[in-house]
């Protein structure tokens, strides 16, 4: 691993399960990753693969019951956050100020009955322990920092008076105002149109440059990954199945699932037959996982050997390229 002082957040063997009538559902199963200061990384995967639950676990925001973090460590700036009670003041101090989170639905992520300024300054008051007036001023500054024109009057607006992109900026402004060191962006642009998407992403990237913020994107949009992320974690059925630098993952994918994911992105330069190849089948239900590789039923390279148990992550190349696949060293896996 890299120099430890540079690591902002390290998640080790995190396990989160939902205990339902149908039994235990392992939504996050032994997930480890890290993010350095001022770095942008991405977690990709189909919906329902546990990528969002992982982030909610880091924040200890998983709905409980039925959800429960059953194991692992979340080390943020040297402190294991899981030692804090989920409702403790220490944990609350981390949320918003240490780690901020931006969600998929900007239209519904702000409280409809409070003014933007009220919502913004409330969080500032909590984390910076300043009075209302100061918090309001700082709120204006934060709105300006995220490129909202006419910030002063915008503070008096209600969320329904703003566009989706604007609201997403407000959510980012909260993070900026509180000096968050890490922003977890859960599908930050999925609900926005393409132009606004780019603007929001540029804004996030500029935060990295200006404030040294780290950004963790959760997404299924591989276009965003290519443009902005430095490293990528690919998740499938609650596990990380491949990780590495963006270049390695995109140019030299090892896991059949990663390859499938890349093939399912429309390419303009591809011939007609290979333009769009979807991965066969449906993502597995997390309540009905096999005791072996979860991708087995959909894997084009599946064979008897694959049924010997869960594959573990092993290094497959330089620059920390890891992959969890029984076939990874076989030629077939590398066959293009």
């Amino acid at each position: 691993m890299e120099d430890n002082r540079n690591i902002l957040l390290e998640v080790k063997h995190l396990k989160t399960s939902f205990f339902t009538q149908a039994g235990e559902v392992k939504a996050v199963d032994d997930v480890s990753y890290y993010i350095k200061k001022g770095e942008i990384i991405a977690v990709v995967g189909e919906s329902g693969c546990g990528k969002s639950v992982t982030q909610m676990s880091v924040m200890q925001l998983v709905q409980s019951p039925p959800g429960k973090i059953v194991g692992g460590e979340v080390i943020f700036e040297g402190q294991n956050l899981l030692e804090y009670d989920r409702n403790s003041p220490e944990m609350r101090a981390v949320r918003g100020a240490g780690i901020a989170m931006i969600f998929q639905e900007p239209m519904t992520s702000l409280n409809p009955v409070f003014k933007i300024g009220t919502q913004l300054s409330e969080v500032i008051m909590i984390h910076k322990k300043v009075d209302k007036k100061t918090a309001w001023e700082e709120g204006i500054k934060a709105l300006e920092a995220v490129g909202i024109p006419d910030a002063k009057s915008r503070m008096e607006n209600y969320p329904f008076q703003m566009s989706g992109g604007m609201r997403q900026r407000v959510l980012i402004a909260i993070a900026v105002a509180c000096g968050s060191k890490l922003i977890i962006a859960d599908e930050p642009t999925t609900a926005l149109d393409v132009t606004t998407q780019a603007q929001v992403m540029e804004l996030l990237q500029s935060l990295v440059k200006t404030y040294g913020t780290s950004i963790l994107m959760v997404t299924h949009n591989l276009g965003l990954v290519t443009r902005y992320a430095e490293r990528v974690y690919v998740m499938y059925a609650g596990k990380v199945i491949e990780s590495g630098t963006t270049e390695d993952i995109l140019m030299h994918p090892v896991h059949p699932y990663t390859k499938g994911l890349l093939n399912s992105v429309p390419k303009l330069d591809a011939s007609d037959e290979e333009r769009l190849v979807a991965i066969k089948g449906q993502p597995p239900r997390l309540s009905e996982l096999p005791s072996y590789c979860a991708f087995y039923p959909r894997c084009p390279y599946a064979c008897e050997e694959c049924k010997q148990g869960y594959p573990i992550l092993e290094e497959v190349g330089p620059n920390e390229h890891f992959c969890a696949c029984w076939m990874k060293n076989k030629e077939v896996a590398h066959a293009e």
Partner: protein, 316 residues
């Protein structure tokens, strides 16, 4: 906001106007000649005719309606056929008694309903939630006249804590009022309390699972602030509607409550007026009561706009 309020007020006036036509037509459908019923069957024809003339009962219906409305603007609601005195005096005398029960019941119903609803939402699934939910289900499903009777039986007849009848007005003696009004107030507020707490509970649960609550949590806002500030204000919006509807029910409930606890208020007056075909009393009372209901709805609408900025914008 001002234009929103003006719009609402105008709409309410229109509703009151139509309600007055509605009330007038329905009441004049009542079978039986009111004068004959008031004076008795043996009254000579010319006496009956004279009384009919006096009360404009021989005019065509539209003209009767217009006379009624015009005189009402001069503060004249007509005279009672039975009691031989102005309806306005009767209302002035009896409405305060109804309000002395209705207003505290209304306030108590809202406060208890909100409290129970919030507590059971916050402690959902726990023993206290189940107990309260069971209790509110009972309170919604129990007829008021029977609850009143049960209260009378337990607290007046068996325990002698409260008197059985004779409402004392707060102006006469506060203590006497408290003693005589407690049971009717409790009886009157239970159903409303139940429906408000039900609505509050289910709204709170729905709001708690919204995205913006997740945002608030992710921003490190404490659970207490989230429940009592962020969630409550959103959950209250539909509750306000229920409160408006309950104002009507409280007034309608007065008919039953006053009957059980022998309170000579508007409710009992209306019941008697229906049975005696006392047209002008009935019309006046029903209109006043409807007016209170419509006015209550107006207040609710304005509150609505105050709580929910989106409504203000859309309707304003």
């Amino acid at each position: 906001m001002t234009s929103y309020i003006i719009k609402r007020v105008l709409a309410s006036i229109a509703v009151i106007f139509i309600v007055s036509i509605f009330v007038f037509s329905i009441i004049h459908l009542l079978p039986g000649d009111p004068v004959v019923m008031a004076l008795g069957l043996e009254t000579p024809m010319e006496d009956i005719e004279r009384v009919r003339e006096e009360h404009h009962l021989n005019d065509p219906l539209p003209q009767q309606y217009i006379t009624w409305i015009v005189e009402m603007f001069h503060g004249d609601f007509g005279d009672s056929l039975i009691e031989f005195r102005p309806v306005a005096d009767i209302i002035k005398e009896r409405l305060p008694r109804t309000l002395a029960i209705g207003i505290p019941a209304f306030v108590l119903g809202i406060l208890l309903g909100l409290l129970i609803g919030i507590v059971s939402a916050v402690r959902r699934g726990k023993a206290i939630d189940q107990t309260l939910t069971f209790f509110t289900t009972l309170s919604i499903g129990t007829p008021q006249f029977w609850i009143g009777m049960l209260l009378l039986y337990l607290f007046s007849i068996k325990l002698h804590w409260f008197p059985m009848r004779n409402l004392v007005m707060p102006g006469e003696s506060i203590l006497g009022y408290l003693r005589s009004a407690t049971l009717p107030i409790i009886c009157s507020c239970l159903q409303m309390m139940g429906s408000i707490s039900r609505q509050t509970r289910s709204n709170m649960l729905e709001v708690i699972s919204q995205d913006y609550i997740r945002t608030a949590r992710a921003n490190g806002i404490s659970e207490k602030t989230i429940v009592y500030k962020h969630a409550l204000k959103n959950a209250l919006i539909p509750v306000v509607t229920v409160i408006g509807m309950n104002l009507r029910n409280i007034i309608a409930g007065a008919v039953l409550i006053e009957n059980i606890f022998s309170i000579p208020g508007i409710g009992v007056t209306m019941t008697n007026a229906i049975n005696n075909r006392d047209y002008w009393v009935l019309q006046g009372c029903v209109l006043i009561v409807s007016f209170i209901a419509v006015f209550g709805n107006l207040v609710v609408d304005i509150l609505y706009g105050y709580i929910d900025p989106r409504i203000r914008e859309a309707r304003g």
